[in-house]
């Protein structure tokens, strides 16, 4: 199949079959494009298999208020997006937006958090959402079983979560249903812009397309310059642990603890330098475990069934990069950390722009990589 496919022409090739690439490919196919979705093999490092599945708003936008608007736009579109995926694939991606917490285990942590929230809301541009600082009593009424060490926290009413692995599968199914040609084990290694079209040399032969979207996560760093684009990446390692299934007890997602629709409890999320997901830093898991247990003591008895490390897709300043190439028209780059949160935007807003050949400057201009060259105002 892949040999045949590789020789065919496509309107557009999306490089990277993770959450970002699959969402974009799905949106492009819905917009009538003939899409090839190029992906790596089974053992590839994939943020999409390692993430925490939050559809998260609070904290977003400090230093770039447009990012807050972009995030809220996706958060608002998510329910409809999930319904659309369910209608097309039959898969319920378990999206919920009950609001979410970040919990503080000491006064110092609470003050740090309150100061962050203050800075967010005191920016010149108004934020499209509110994050409240709540005291322990207020939180306890919403989160039964709260541990005595929790002194307070922040709450944002439009935070939510989903089942990101089911989202991943649903996007692939939906993309397939709309005619996307998925090419696994076609890791793109070189991209050439030839006479207004693109030739992608992959580990399984060449693929040609009229346009190309780079959605290869941290690998965009090396791919982007091949088509006159730029993707300064700063990958970051994070660890997550997950428990066995347990009866529902946690109604709201907490930034570091959430119960999935399947009943398992995910506990995250650390930040370490590193670009390899191999091995585990066990002391980091010990800290995450003890903090989770202080937040919800009932967790202590649960068994952890899996632990893993993932590599976050992260740009140099933490904000997404959406860009189109000046020198190789038809080449686009998509880099972002929040492939789950922004999935609705990628499929519903970004993909139609790419299909039309131009990113909307008003909406996405602030996310151009050109920002890395603008000297910061004093």
């Amino acid at each position: 199949m892949s040999v045949l496919a590789a020789s065919q022409e496509h309107d557009i090739a999306v490089v990277g079959g993770g959450l970002v690439g699959a969402a974009v490919a799905y949106g492009l196919a819905r917009a009538g494009q003939r899409v090839a979705l190029l992906d790596g093999g089974d053992a590839e490092v994939r943020a999409s298999r390692a993430n925490f599945a939050l559809v998260w708003v609070q904290s977003k936008g400090l230093g770039l208020p447009q990012y807050a608007h972009w995030t809220v736009r996706s958060s608002d579109a998510w329910a409809g997006f999930a319904a659309q995926l369910k209608e097309e694939t039959g898969l319920d991606v378990a999206f919920e937006r009950p609001g979410g917490f970040q919990l503080a285990l000491s006064q110092a942590e609470l003050e740090t958090r309150a100061a962050q929230v203050n800075r967010l809301h005191n920016q010149a541009a108004e934020l499209p959402y509110r994050t409240e600082i709540l005291d322990r009593a207020e939180i306890e009424s919403m989160l039964p079983g709260l541990g005595p060490d929790v002194v307070g926290g922040s709450f944002c009413p439009i935070d939510g979560h989903c089942n990101s692995l089911r989202l991943y599968r649903a996007l692939h199914m939906a993309a397939r249903l709309h005619g996307v040609r998925y090419l696994p084990s076609h890791r793109a290694e070189r991209i050439a812009c030839e006479r207004g079209a693109f030739r992608l040399a992959t580990t399984a032969g060449d693929v040609r397309a009229g346009k190309v979207v780079l959605a290869a996560g941290n690998a965009n760093l090396h791919l982007a310059p091949m088509v006159g684009l730029e993707a300064p990446m700063r990958p970051e390692r994070g660890q997550i642990m997950v428990t066995e299934r347990v009866a529902p007890f946690l109604r709201y997602p907490v930034a570091t603890v959430r119960q999935t629709d399947e009943g398992t409890v995910m506990i995250g999320d650390s930040k370490e330098e590193g670009t390899s997901p191999d091995g585990l830093t066990m002391p980091v898991n010990a800290v995450m475990a003890s903090r989770a247990m202080r937040m919800f003591p009932v967790l202590g008895r649960l068994n952890l069934v899996r632990m893993w490390a993932g590599v976050r897709v992260m740009t140099a300043d933490g904000f997404p990069v959406y860009d189109q190439s000046e020198t190789c028209p038809g080449a686009f780059v998509v880099c972002c950390h929040s492939g789950v949160t922004l999935a609705a935007n990628h499929a519903l807003t970004l993909a139609p722009m790419i299909a039309a050949g131009r990113l909307d400057a008003d909406l996405l201009g602030p996310f151009s990589a050109r920002r890395f060259h603008v000297p910061k105002a004093a």
Partner: protein
């Protein structure tokens, strides 16, 4: 000795698993003066083949057979060696700097070793037939454990199904214990007999030959054996009621049953070794993953050796010899002067070769049919924990899932508490068959610690240096 505090020490050699390989490795290593600890999650030493060897209530020796009682010798060797044996001790993680995380007595312990011998043995190959999750369906090994540990003998309409030496051994043991067996449904593919013939000359030298033939004759005298079974299904509402089976291309027959005992060979228990990144390869004869090791059992990770059936199925006698080789290698590395006091390596190698003679014959004869490794029916459960079916796996291959890791993400197969032990091989082989490629090309689940579920509180109680706190707490 089973004291909890002892598990926080530094040791020279940590042996994981107290079956034949672990017992032999631990005994030899301790005898050479190395501080040695042998860890096993079970309540007593012996592993599976010598299960409950120190505690079994089965007194009539002939029931379990003379081979079983050899295990006593291994335990005695360990007991007199000075090695520490910790039972009820679950190893859930090892690291490349040889830190062994052990759950014991409700606490997590970190044991620092200079060498590790993984002797985690084998487990029974998954037997994914329709209805294999029904109560009333167990593994043959499970029934054997009940006999050895508790003196329990199945009663009612008992059917054994599958292939391999253990199936016959269990049948013989149950009969000697006064049990009745309604039938044995032998799934050994008929063509295996022909294929195995060319390995027969080597097998003639094997100590297993006469014993095996005698045992099979003993069973056949008392039990109806139905050969050439190509289809098998357990049926019942909430519990086993009957078995549907067919031989060759024949019509399906039904047989009422209270207990169905399944077995189609054993495969290495690879979870711990794979979790540390030890390189494995697909064994096309034994149809399983085996670690890449040298003749002393040294793996691709420095200072970690693998001995026993976990290094490739060889049986109990071979396992003990491999354990000894791993111990000799450890002694040579840590206390070279003590090597002279140990059995000569050459002699151990010869004993191993003798024990392994004829293995190819057994592996070929008892290679299970694809009919029972790769479910033909779409509704057959492959992953028991998450109830993922063969049909779902094939549908996702069609969607572009090329390997078990993407499959796991899409379907949750292998994400339950058994951590893929009961579905991993089936998932790999089902994907391979659907794609028309080899299992080696498909690969296996990426396994990580914990290799057994571990209470969160135990992880929370482990050391938390400031660097780790910084990686978690945002300031």
């Amino acid at each position: 000795m089973t004291g909890a505090a002892a598990l926080d020490d530094k040791v020279d050699v940590a042996v994981i698993g107290a079956g034949p390989a672990g017992l032999a490795a631990g005994a030899l290593s301790a005898r050479a003066g190395l501080a040695t600890v042998v860890l096993d999650e079970n309540p007593a030493p012996g592993g599976q083949i010598y299960r409950a060897i120190t505690t079994t209530p089965v007194q009539r020796k002939e029931i379990l057979g003379t081979d079983y009682w050899h295990g006593r010798e291994l335990v005695r060797e360990l007991e007199s060696s000075g090695a520490r044996l910790a039972t009820g001790a679950t190893v859930w993680s090892i690291s490349r700097d040889l830190e062994v995380a052990v759950s014991h007595g409700g606490r997590a312990h970190l044991l620092h070793a200079r060498r590790i011998v993984i002797a985690t043995g084998a487990l029974e190959r998954p037997f994914p037939v329709p209805g294999w999750t029904l109560p009333g369906v167990m593994t043959a090994g499970g029934a054997q454990t009940l006999l050895k540990s508790s003196g329990l003998v199945p009663e009612g309409r008992v059917v054994l199904a599958g292939t391999g030496p253990l199936l016959w051994l269990l049948a013989a043991q149950l009969l000697r214990a006064g049990g009745a067996i309604t039938a044995i449904l032998d799934t050994t593919p008929r063509q295996n007999y022909v294929r195995a013939l060319r390995h027969a000359p080597a097998f003639v030298l094997s100590p297993y030959l006469i014993k095996g033939l005698r045992m099979m004759a003993e069973v056949r005298r008392k039990v109806r054996v139905i050969s050439g079974v190509t289809r098998l299904e357990a049926v019942g509402e909430g519990k086993l009621k009957e078995i549907i089976f067919a031989t060759g291309n024949g019509a399906a027959a039904r047989m009422a049953a209270d207990l169905l005992l399944l077995h189609q060979g054993v495969v290495p228990n690879v979870n711990l070794a794979m979790s540390i990144g030890i390189v494995h390869r697909w064994d096309g004869l034994q149809l399983c993953w085996v670690p890449e090791i040298d003749r002393h059992g040294n793996s691709s990770v420095p200072d970690i050796a693998i001995a026993g059936d976990g290094a490739g199925i060889g049986g109990a006698v071979a396992a003990a010899e491999r354990g000894r080789l791993a111990a000799i290698a450890a002694v040579r590395a840590l206390a070279p002067a003590a090597v002279s006091g140990l059995p000569a390596e050459q002699a151990v190698m010869q004993a191993l070769a003798k024990a392994e003679a004829g293995r190819a014959f057994l592996d070929t004869l008892y290679q299970p049919s694809a009919d029972f490794r790769i479910p033909a029916g779409d509704d057959t459960i492959v992953c028991r924990c998450e109830e993922v079916t063969a049909g779902q796996i094939r549908a996702n291959v069609a969607l572009g899932c090329e390997g078990p890791n993407q499959m796991k993400s899409f379907l949750r197969c292998g994400m339950g508490p058994c951590q893929g032990r009961l579905c991993g091989l089936t998932v790999t082989e089902t994907i391979a068959a659907a794609r028309g490629v080899s299992p080696a090309q498909v690969g296996y689940y990426r396994l990580r610690p914990p290799v057994k579920p571990i209470p969160l509180a135990e992880v929370a109680a482990m050391p938390q240096p400031e660097s780790a706190v910084k990686a978690v707490v945002r300031r």
